[in-house]
């Protein structure tokens, strides 16, 4: 039996009425999901209207592209984070992980450059290395959590410190900078556009689309939701819970790797402040997007909207100067809570 994974209230009501329960459940589900997505979308629309009123440049194509490009990092990580949170887990280490991957990849590419003649090949190898490293870190998390039976919160709290400390160690407290020749070859990955849309935005779109397909159209996606909804029931239903969980962390690691390979060409360097608090931004994007922190239910569309919404707030604050610069974080906090409230009211 498929475990109910939407609002418990809707599910309970529909289950009580026995006649044509399936049909009712289906409509209930659809309505629930539809309204679910309304909070963040409504919030985003309101913010965009406010932004345009405050500064006409807000609605310009250039600004929109800047905004989407800078959202790509957090957005891609948030897609992976969405899986982990839906399965009932959490990952606090993604910011540090991104920083360590960025640093390691730069060191790797700088070391490879003299041995391998072609800079293009070096960059390609570096990109592959970033994704591989992410997958390995994710696998380590997954195994520690499932086989090691340690709370995800604890495991990733531990690696949060470990990853950043190693980056600081490799950087000797300063910055790790990419070789200039490599930087020139690599920079189009961030700065170039395809059909007028910057590459990171394309990558973000593809990752989000794949994420949505995996979550909603595959058996794996259903298992993830089932585990988050009720792990015991999923276990009884012969779902290989450990394997599914490990894969969610590997997926997240891969997402962090992809985000990093887009991040490195932006500044061509990694320092101990790289990716600071990204974990909280990614988690905020997922939660603002309507995914339950306790797991079980969530959507990729919501997550994408959530991530864009967070960037829009800081963008508007930068484009205007009506609010004291000391209150930026407060404005972000107010909007996050307001959006979450809109969601709750509509549930």
């Amino acid at each position: 039996m498929p475990p109910a994974h939407t609002d418990t209230s809707t599910a309970a009501v529909t289950a009580a009425v026995d006649t044509s329960a399936t049909a009712r459940l289906a409509t209930g589900l659809r309505r629930g999901l539809k309204l679910h997505g309304m909070g963040p979308v409504l919030g985003l629309v309101l913010l965009c209207i406010a932004g345009t009123l405050l500064n006409s440049d807000f609605a310009s194509v250039d600004n929109a592209m800047n905004l989407l490009t800078r959202t790509a990092f957090i957005g891609i990580i948030a897609v992976g984070m969405c899986f982990v949170i839906i399965s009932g887990g959490i990952d606090l280490s993604v910011g540090s992980m991104a920083a360590l991957i960025a640093g390691s990849v730069i060191l790797f590419m700088n070391a490879m450059a003299p041995a391998v003649g072609s800079p293009v090949l070096v960059v390609a190898l570096g990109m592959g290395f970033a994704v591989l490293l992410g997958a390995v870190f994710g696998l380590a998390h997954g195994l520690l959590i499932t086989k090691g039976r340690i709370e995800p919160f604890i495991v990733t709290l531990g690696t949060l410190g470990i990853f950043r400390a190693y980056l600081t160690y490799f950087a000797n407290g300063g910055a790790i900078t990419l070789d200039n020749a490599l930087s020139d070859v690599y920079s189009p990955v961030y700065y170039a556009s395809l059909l007028g849309v910057p590459i990171p935005v394309w990558v973000f779109a593809v990752v989000a689309l794949l994420g949505a397909l995996i979550l909603n159209r595959t058996a794996y996606g259903r298992y993830v939701q089932a585990i988050g909804s009720n792990e015991q029931v999923a276990r009884y239903a012969a779902v290989d819970v450990d394997r599914i969980k490990v894969i969610t962390y590997v997926l997240l690691g891969v997402c962090v790797g992809i985000a990093t390979l887009l991040y490195v060409p932006r500044l061509g360097s990694a320092s101990p402040t790289t990716g600071l608090l990204w974990e909280l931004e990614a988690i905020a994007a997922v939660i603002v997007g309507g995914t339950a922190l306790k797991g079980g239910a969530g959507s990729i569309t919501g997550t994408v909207v959530g991530a864009v919404l967070l960037s829009v707030i800081s963008n508007i604050l930068n484009l205007t100067s009506i609010i004291s610069v000391y209150l930026n974080a407060a404005v972000q906090g107010f909007v996050i809570i307001a959006v979450a409230f809109m969601q709750r009211a509509r549930r």
Partner: protein, 320 residues
């Protein structure tokens, strides 16, 4: 009888010990150095300079021991200060406090036990908790930057400012910068000042948004070399040619190199060197060994680095 002899012997031994101790104290200094861990470029530089100076001092003054400890938070640093006093038996402490308020009490306590305390850069909330204070010149940092930008623009133009993490230091710098422009270059207009938090990524975003918002920017006061990296990338991406000058600060080796090599946009830098920890350690060591008094306050001036003097400040081995 026997007892009395023992007592007598003990007294002699004690006297010898005290005399010996006093003799030792004249040249044997145990210095604890407590600094924040290398979490960003500037503190990375502080750690580098502290370790380097430890070696120099121990060579220069035989018998001197220098113990360098780095802390990741104010609490950790407070614990370390305590440990240095109780376990390592330091008689001299050079400390760059993580935060002013939480470290005032622990440092005051160490000082009350007879330890000589030199506080560096970030002050304590109660100056009586320190024996000496060595710091960078924050108002000077803003003033020198303001004077340079005003002069380079010929007294007329639009400037955007990137601020650091909201702190007293940042306020002092920005206030001094604004004051100089207002007094000497009233036609230089500061379009806006936002926080880039001494962080490359934040500076990149803030600069992108400045570029969207302002069609004509003549100069950027990035106020920090880390932030200048992000600023320059944003300008490159937007392909803007109106910006004639990006002025960072703190004197990182990359930016000093740029100034040395005659970069078109980065023509100068303003020092606020992490090597001030080295100055503080050297001044303190000298005063302790020679028994001279150290000035209560030593301000290390912020100076302008230009192509002419850049080589003097270039330190390739430093991580910053």
């Amino acid at each position: 009888m026997n007892n009395r002899r023992t007592l007598f012997r003990t007294a002699i031994a004690l006297a010898a010990l005290v005399a010996g101790g006093a003799a030792l104290a004249q040249n044997k200094v145990t210095m604890g150095v407590s600094i924040p861990a290398a979490t960003h470029g500037w503190t990375g530089g502080v750690v580098y300079w502290a370790n380097r100076t430890k070696g120099e001092l121990e060579k220069q003054y035989p018998g001197m021991t220098v113990i360098v400890k780095t802390a990741g938070s104010a609490t950790e640093q407070a614990n370390q200060v305590q440990d240095l006093q109780t376990a390592n038996k330091i008689d001299t402490l050079v400390i760059l406090p993580f935060e002013s308020a939480p470290l005032t009490k622990p440092v005051a306590q160490v000082k009350s036990k007879g330890v000589f305390v030199t506080v560096v850069d970030r002050g304590l909330t109660d100056p009586s908790a320190q024996s000496a204070y060595v710091a960078g010149d924050n108002p000077g940092f803003g003033k020198v930057a303001g004077e340079y930008i005003g002069k380079q623009l010929g007294g007329k133009g639009n400037v955007v400012v990137l601020r650091g993490i909201p702190t007293v230091i940042d306020n002092q710098r920005v206030d001094a910068f604004n004051a100089v422009l207002k007094a000497q270059y009233p036609d230089v207009k500061v379009l806006d000042a936002k926080h880039g938090n001494w962080n490359r990524d934040d500076a990149f975003k803030v600069m992108q948004d400045y570029l969207t918002r302002f069609k004509q920017i003549d100069a950027v006061w990035a106020s920090d070399d880390d932030m200048a990296v992000g600023v320059q990338k944003a300008i490159e991406q937007a392909k803007r040619t109106d910006i004639k000058l990006v002025l960072g600060g703190a004197g990182s080796k990359e930016y000093i190199k740029k100034v040395m090599d005659g970069d078109k946009i980065v023509t100068a830098d303003v020092t606020y060197s992490p090597s001030m920890i080295a100055d503080a350690m050297k001044l303190t060591a000298e005063a302790r060994v020679k028994g001279t008094t150290m000035p209560a306050t030593t301000i290390i001036p912020s100076v302008l680095i230009t192509k002419e003097n850049a080589a003097k400040y270039y330190e390739p081995a430093s991580p910053f």
